[in-house]
């Protein structure tokens, strides 16, 4: 049986690391040139950034070994030749960045809420979680628990939202905005496509109005005008007003994203559902929405990330979120001039959250195989 040719390995240049390099980085001469240029840039940049952020940086003590309590004690201000970033400002202000002005004795409540938030998100993010059903019950009641925990009531001392700040405000705004906007967005999207003219017109009007004005305008509306519409004596909390504005804004965008998904569903799906005698709600809940939302995952995550970053706009109505606390720190005469450190830290925190969101959406897309053309299957 010598006729069978021996199995020859593919050429070295097409497999393994070398093959990958050849195909991806050095495919032709322009490609190679760009690769070399990028490598050169990284070579210039990476050692410098590592040196600045880590090796030459002050974390708590300066190069003389003193604990840093103001910007004049930073190594780079004592001796410009000697020192990189001065992270001491983040170290000293860490509490404010994470909790704002929340009273120190009550801060365990925020910590507990952070931990509970993680547990509440688990069953939503990970479908194979054991006892997922029970976790989901917890997720449903979490907002109520979080409200009493953070705000007070039910035996907890009240902590006015004026004392909230930093990451706490960013997360409250981001999570509430995203969580509330999703169902409202679905209703608006269905409403806009409704055959009942009043509902469809109202939804269209709402969406177009909200999308037609910038978020800043809505925030001002919430902050300044909303109280004027409320009867005398009813005092609406500043943060709640901002939350209302953020939620309205986000739900209009979410509605359009989901409407895009709805329109991508082939008419056959609707007809099939109807021919089975399904009601409007059953058809949407069981047939249409699961498919529409599945294909809308990338834009849903997109607008959610957008909202998460837009929460920084609340500073213009005087609420100090993560970025606001950073700016407040910069205005302290002790820490004047450390803008690089503070903005770097704030962007890092935002990056961690938004990158996490985008990686999660990729995982979801893979899991749900949204890449497949559904109608033509």
């Amino acid at each position: 049986m010598n006729e069978i040719n021996e199995v020859r390995k593919p050429p070295v240049a097409t497999t393994g690391i070398i093959g990958w390099l050849r195909i991806n980085l050095f495919f032709n001469w322009t490609n190679s040139l760009i690769t070399l240029f990028v490598i050169y840039c990284l070579y210039q940049f990476i050692p410098w950034i590592l040196d600045w952020t880590i090796f030459s940086a002050d974390f708590k003590y300066n190069y003389l070994g003193e604990q840093i309590t103001n910007q004049e004690m930073c190594s780079r201000n004592l001796d410009p030749e000697n020192g990189g970033a001065c992270w001491a400002v983040i170290y000293v202000r860490f509490y404010q960045f994470i909790y704002g002005f929340y009273p120190k004795v009550e801060v365990w409540r925020v910590n507990l809420a952070y931990v509970m938030l993680a547990f509440a998100l688990l069953p939503l993010l990970y479908a194979k979680l054991p006892y997922r059903k029970y976790f989901l019950y917890f997720t449903y009641i979490f907002p109520v628990i979080a409200y009493f925990l953070l705000n007070g009531g039910l035996g907890f001392t009240e902590v006015s939202t004026n004392k909230w700040g930093g990451l706490l405000v960013t997360l409250v705004l981001g999570c509430t905005g995203i969580a509330l906007a999703f169902p409202i967005g679905i209703m608006l999207a269905l409403g806009r496509r409704s055959k009942l003219p009043v509902i469809s017109m109202m939804c269209t009007l709402f969406i177009e109005f909200i999308r037609g004005v910038p978020l800043i305008t809505l925030l001002f509306f919430g902050m300044v005008m909303l109280p004027l519409f409320l009867p005398e004596g009813i005092d609406m909390d500043g943060l709640v007003r901002v939350l209302v504005a953020v939620t309205l804004f986000q739900s209009a965008y979410m509605a359009e994203v989901i409407r895009g998904g709805l329109q991508a569903i082939p008419p056959g799906q609707y007809e099939a559902a109807k021919s089975l005698g399904m009601s409007y709600w059953r058809m949407n809940l069981l047939i249409i929405l699961p498919q529409a939302i599945r294909i809308s995952i990338p834009p849903i995550v997109n607008t959610s990330i957008g909202l998460f970053k837009d929460t920084t706009l609340v500073i213009i109505v005087g609420i100090l979120d993560l970025l606001g606390i950073g700016r407040g720190t910069l205005a302290d005469t002790n820490w004047l001039g450390l803008s690089y450190e503070i903005y770097f830290f704030v962007s890092l925190v935002f990056f961690i959250f938004t990158f996490g969101m985008s990686r999660y959406s990729l995982y979801l897309e893979k899991k749900l195989k949204t890449g497949i053309n559904m109608g033509a299957e």
Binding site: F101, G238, G318, G328, D332, N334, S339
Partner: protein, 334 residues
């Protein structure tokens, strides 16, 4: 926009004018004071989350006058845009927020400025290497200027009056101005003198920058309250005046106890030993004593927050007492 704001002011006024703000504050148990979201030397949170600065002290002084306790104040952060609606709607009892006293704000917006706690004015900052000692030598300079502000108009007026030319580099924020100046993209940065000082203090080497002596505009910054509630306006006005008079009379937080046995009649009146001025304001009789004891006189607050020993290094200048070459002047306490 201004018209709209004044409508809000009127509506808010209609809701809030009946009940006196002083009674509201007393019933609530703490003062709500509007401050900036952070401005070096005027109001910014310190490392422990407490607000500190000249404006923050103003808020605390009023809280002390009403409650005798400097901690009975809640700071509400406001921006340049949100400050007036916040005050008009009654969400804060007063603003101590670096606000320039102008006729339109005082009259048209329906507010009442009760005094001036800092006399500011537009100035110029240049690199000391430029070798310029007066703004009139700035012919042909590139100037970093915030667009859409009164500083822009003042600048144009100043250069036209002096018959010299300049090139404007429009910027949006203070940070942007700082970066452009430090990077050498403009020769001059112009904004309020206090802002220039904080910009200078933020530089890695402050000695490389110099603030020129010319001040080309009037920016009297002071606390303000809503129109129509004169009793409350008086409380805020005299809280400020008490601090200024205390400096005039040489009363400080350290010697205030000894001063209660002074033989100067005005000292005794101020500290509540004689007369019933506290009662007139519907405050306790030792309200001014408590302000001086817990906050200090004007000079103490100034030196601690913006004075020459702080990184801002703002000399007293116009903010010195009228007896010492400045224009700080409070009506007599009698």
């Amino acid at each position: 926009m201004k018209k709209l704001l004044s409508i809000f002011a009127v509506v808010a006024f209609a809701f809030s004018a009946n009940a006196g703000t002083l009674d509201d504050v007393k019933n609530r148990g703490f003062l709500k004071c509007g401050v900036t979201t952070g401005l070096a030397g005027f109001a910014a949170p310190d490392d422990s989350g407490e607000w500190a600065g000249l404006d923050a002290d103003m808020c605390r002084a009023v809280a002390v006058a009403v409650f005798g306790d400097r901690s009975k104040v809640e700071f509400i952060t406001t921006t340049g845009k949100s400050r007036f609606p916040t005050l008009a709607s009654g969400e804060v009892d007063m603003l101590a927020r670096n606000t320039t006293w102008t006729i339109s704000r005082d009259v048209n917006l329906g507010f009442e400025f009760v005094g001036v706690n800092f006399y500011d004015g537009q100035g110029f900052m240049v690199p000391s290497a430029l070798g310029v000692s007066s703004a009139t030598e700035l012919d042909g300079a590139t100037v970093c200027i915030q667009t859409g502000t009164t500083t822009e108009l003042n600048l144009a007026d100043f250069f036209r009056l002096n018959g010299i030319s300049y090139e404007a580099l429009p910027i949006e924020t203070n940070d942007e101005g700082k970066e452009n100046l430090f990077a050498g993209r403009c020769d001059v940065y112009t904004t309020d003198a206090s802002g220039l000082s904080s910009t200078r203090a933020a530089a890695s080497n402050p000695d490389k920058w110099v603030v020129l002596p010319e001040i080309i505009s009037k920016e009297p910054l002071g606390p303000l309250v809503r129109h129509g509630d004169h009793q409350w306006g008086d409380v805020v006005r005299w809280s400020l005046n008490a601090m200024i008079i205390a400096e005039e009379l040489g009363i400080t937080s350290e010697n205030v106890d000894a001063q209660t046995s002074s033989n100067v009649p005005e000292v005794l009146r101020l500290l509540g030993v004689e007369g019933n001025y506290g009662e007139m304001l519907e405050l306790s009789n030792d309200w001014a004593y408590q302000i001086i004891k817990q906050i200090g006189n004007y000079s103490e607050s100034y030196e601690a927050n913006v004075g020459p020993d702080t990184p801002l290094e703002i000399a007293r200048g116009l903010n010195a007492l009228w007896t010492q070459g400045g224009i700080l002047y409070a009506p007599p306490f009698r």
